[in-house]
Symmetry: C2
Subunit: 284 residues, 2 copies
């Protein structure tokens, strides 16, 4: 599928992608670069990694696919750093959780004959680093590709084929629509879980000895990396604020029904929530 | 440990308790009653059930341990119905998720020589019914016993031994303290998950095709039975309102930091949440 693929940022997602591409025979050559010497060392000599470079500029040389798997705030600066080394016809994409800022800037700085298109594979884990990566991470997961209006159809299709080839279900949306959707189904749940934990941290901490599976499942994602989620918050600030507003109205409806002992309304809210949850697709 | 045990309400929890008592040889005879003929039929002839009765009054006859495993709003009415048949020295407890109302009324209506003491084993599932029960449900889980100030020490100790015998870690708290604690660590997470789902249900429902493991875990408990959770809400209304108030202040702190782009404060909130979550005991 690709002759030479460069993954910038071999963390959990990047290293998993390298393993998936190798195992499925989708890339002849796989190169990588990490900001951290420690991470570069972890990739050396792995069967899914043909070469590790000390700079991004060297790593992308000759690549016909570049996937940037860095934290969202590093994506555009990294694109600026490598632009002179990207060969014409190369497909450049990323895996960032926010898309509007990245896609507008990303496309604008690409050299002649090179297209940048955003991707967002919705898989991951609260674990990090290449040592936690595995080839099957993507299987059954959902993935966005986020073309601009003038992105060539061939580029869109090639990107969709890439993510389908590692086992994902792929949908297409504008970067702005993507950001609205993930603000609701990913960022809002994350910040609610974090706020719940940070609130409970202000209460008697012995209470947690009585916590059951409910609290544990509800808050699992609050273990995510604060720096990473701060970046996501900053890149998708307006949509997250809008989703928070909508959620707060819902919580107020619930609060007011409880306060006024309107049990029929409580049942209705719980039923609507249950119906939504029961329909949530149960694949990965 | 007990000669004759009666479990009223052989749902997921009640049937699991019967199985755990039988497998561990803790009860010579196990009897049960369910409001529903359908559930009574499911218990007939099971190795963990010696007799199924059509009325609660018949089922408790001769029991030296009665455990009421019914929805919270049925517990006190059921106690009233069986009180004339409870023999002196019998230990009577329940497994309801709220305790103040149940324990005050429960103790008040017991006949001479009989003690009611509240229990709350914090295990369960969004699944229901005796067909989903299993003996190991309690293992490693946390359990409250909630004595009143005048509950005899021997009754408290006997109840603690019961739950320890089926594998639980047991703590003691007043019914009021219990209700405050579970409002925070169980009821608040539940209603947040429900409100998140009932809010997302008002948005474009195609969005859920992109939902990842984060949303699924965060909202799993929203699949719980609305009637059951309405009863819990009504029995623990004031404490839940107080917990909601505290949580809303936290969400406002987060919202205002995001609105004003105070990233250092965002990081602090996320860090505090992560620290709390990472410490949550990882046993069942």
């Amino acid at each position: 599928m690709f002759r030479s693929v460069c993954i910038l940022g071999p963390g959990l997602l990047g290293a998993s992608l390298m393993q998936a591409l190798r195992e499925r025979g989708l890339a002849e050559r796989l190169t990588t670069w990490s900001r951290r010497a420690e991470t570069r060392l972890k990739c050396e000599g792995k069967p899914w990694c043909d070469a590790v470079y000390p700079t991004a500029l060297e790593a992308v040389d000759g690549a016909d696919l570049i996937v940037i798997c860095l934290p969202v705030e590093h994506i555009v600066p990294t694109l600026e750093g490598i632009r002179s080394a990207i060969k014409p016809g190369c497909l450049v994409t990323d895996v960032g959780s926010t898309k509007s800022l990245i896609c507008r800037h990303g496309q604008a700085i690409m050299p002649e004959g090179v297209d940048f298109i955003g991707s967002h594979p919705m898989v991951g884990s609260e674990k990090t680093g290449p040592e936690n990566g595995y080839a099957e991470l993507f299987e059954g997961g959902a993935c966005f590709v986020t073309p601009l209006v003038d992105t060539p159809q061939a580029v869109i299709e090639k990107t969709i084929r890439l993510w389908k080839a590692v086992g994902m279900e792929v949908g297409s949306a504008s970067p702005e629509k993507h950001d609205e959707i993930v603000a609701h189904i990913s960022h809002l749940p994350h910040f609610l879980a974090s706020a719940l934990c940070s609130y409970l941290a202000t209460q008697n901490n012995d209470w947690q000895n009585f916590a059951g599976a409910g609290l544990r499942d509800t808050t699992r994602i609050a273990s995510g990396d604060p720096a990473l989620w701060k970046s996501i918050a900053s890149q998708n600030r307006e949509e997250i604020l809008r989703a928070l507003d909508g959620f707060e109205e819902e919580i107020q409806r619930f609060r007011s029904a409880l306060h006024n002992e309107k049990w029929f309304e409580i049942i209705n809210l719980l039923e609507r929530g249950k119906t939504y949850r029961d329909r949530l697709r149960m694949s990965k």
